[in-house]
Structures are given as C-alpha cells and as structure tokens.
Symmetry: C2
Subunit: 161 residues, 2 copies
DNA sequence: CAGTATCCTGTCCGATACTG
DNA sequence: CAGTATCGGACAGGATACTG
C-alpha cells in the first residue's frame, strides 16, 4: 500500500501493518510460533507458492522479525527463527486467535490454547500492566505523544475527562 | 486470498484475517474506535479512495464488525458504528499498537494510550484471564480442539509436559 | 456532503518448471 | 531439500468524474 496520508505514516498501528500486513506474513509468524523453521516446513504447512514464501520470508527477515541463519554449509541451507522482536509479536496473533475463537464459531472449536505445564486452557485478555485492570473496563483513548507532528496533535488532542 | 490449504480454513487466526486482513480494514476499525462514524470522516482521516472506502466499509458490515445505520432520511444517509463484535476486536489493534510502539521507535512516540479518567498512560499486556499470569511467562501452545479435523489433530497433537 | 461509477496500474499470489 | 525463474490472473487500491 502506498502511504499517502499522514494518518498512516505516523500511526504505530499503520506502521506495524506496513511490516506484517500481507496475508501470509502473520500466518508465517503463526507457524514460526508453532515451531516451524525451514522453508519446506512452512511451505507444506501453509500450502503457499514457493516464490511467495521466499518473498514473505525475506520481508520478515528485513523487518527484523525473523532471522535467517545457516544450519548447514554445503549446500548452504538456512532456517528462519524468530528474533526477540518477532517473539514479541505474539500478543497480536493471540488477540487475533481469541477474537476468531469467540466470534467465528461456525465450524466449532478446532484450536485451543493451553498451558503446556498444566494442560489448562489459557484465555488471553488484555490488561493494563500497571494496574492489572482489564482494558475493556478502562476508557482508554489515544492521545498525541511527545513526538507527534501538528496533524497528529490536532487529531488526537487531549480532551480531559 | 484463496484458501486452498487446510491450515487456513480451520485456523481461527486465518479466519479472522479472512475478514479483516486487507490493509484498510484495520485502519478503518482504528478510526471507528477513535470515534469516526461517517463516510467523509473516514475518507479525510485515511486519505483513502472513495471506491475503496465503500468496498471496505461494506466488507466490514458484511463481516458483522460495523453496522450501517441511517441517521437521516432525505437524502438517505448512513453512519457506520461498531457492533459488539467490532468493539471486541479492539485488543487486536491495541496489541498491534503496543508492538509498534515498542519496536518502531524510529520517529519517536507520537501516539500514547491513556486512561481518560486519570490521564495515566495505559500499557496493554496480555494475561491469562483465569490466573492473571502474563502470557509471556506461560508456555502456551495451541492444541487441537474438540471439533478439529484429522489434519488439525495431526498437526497440533497434544504433547504433554 | 455522501457516496457511486469507470478506468487504470501495481502487485499479491498461484502454477509450473527448473537447479544445486 | 531448498529454493529461483517465469508466466498469468485476480483484485486491491488510486484517480477522477459524476449524482442527489
């Protein structure tokens, strides 16, 4: 997508989407979290065309979410593993999973998140780190930050209580 | 995207992406959370072409995230407001925001999430609803659910401890 | 103002064939 | 096995003109 408007380039959501917004990117990340690391591995799991996989993998490496590292010399072979930045992306996928799980129940529940240690189901909720309060109980709004440009300030001006 | 492979159609993440995976969809939702409701409103904010806005709006209405409702009779005019299902999508956007805010700091912080009541910054973290434990401290894995098909079971078989 | 209708381009993506 | 190269189609998305 071409970012013509201000709202996209200065917004962290839009910027994130810029890196992982393509269809396959998040699905590749999902697979990475499931432990997949190799080209063929991803390809079989996703049913993605090889050229697309090459592109998306390269893009994710470029964006710093995946690291391409050799696991064998001759012939040169690489595996793709999550970087710290990539692992930190997990909440997005979990939020997406949780939403789909709650609302797209047409075909039943075919994927459940569990704690491997206890076997108990894990149900992800967003809370405020400081207070522990669930975010849906907070009237949380975006406001212009310290480095916001004029348009951003205009759009997100602080309107108290 | 055409969903040829199993992994897409049976996975809640993929299914969610199917509804909101296009570039503009999530940005439109972001704007909806920021209080935008009207066509022109979205268009100015996003800098999106009108035909695309029509398409994406219709898709979101179709997917049940937005409701199109008349606010004036002659000429007929509509506003687009979040449904319950749409409002429940917010954690995804907040997770995306949080990730971008942490990792895409090139241009500084220009958007901050605050509690409107207190003015304090809110920092969204994912925790387990039952135990309150942060998800990054849990070894959480996906497993095949009760309604999973054979391929899903094969891929996500339960491997204890 | 709130859209609809057309036309055009870019590119995402799939299919297939090929290589060390 | 792990990709690269090439081809073609579908559609997202932009630009612009038009309407009540």
């Amino acid at each position: 997508m071409r970012r013509t408007s201000f709202a996209e380039s200065e917004c962290p959501i839009a910027n994130s989407l810029e890196l992982v917004g393509e269809w396959w990117s998040m699905l590749i990340l999902r697979d990475a979290f499931d432990g997949h690391t190799r080209f063929d591995d991803f390809q079989r799991s996703l049913g993605i065309a090889p050229n697309m996989l090459t592109r998306r993998l390269a893009a994710l490496v470029d964006a710093g979410l995946l690291e391409k590292r050799p696991y064998q010399q001759r012939p040169p072979r690489y595996e793709y593993v999550l970087t710290a930045r990539g692992r930190d992306f997990r909440p997005v996928l979990l939020a997406l999973y949780a939403w789909g799980d709650r609302h797209l129940t047409a075909e039943g529940r075919n994927l459940v998140l569990v704690d491997r240690a206890t076997g108990e189901e894990v149900s992800p909720v967003l809370v405020d780190r400081a207070t522990g309060r669930p975010l849906n109980e907070i009237d949380a709004v975006f406001t212009a930050g310290p480095d916001a440009g004029p348009r951003m300030r205009d759009r997100y001006r602080v309107e108290p209580g």
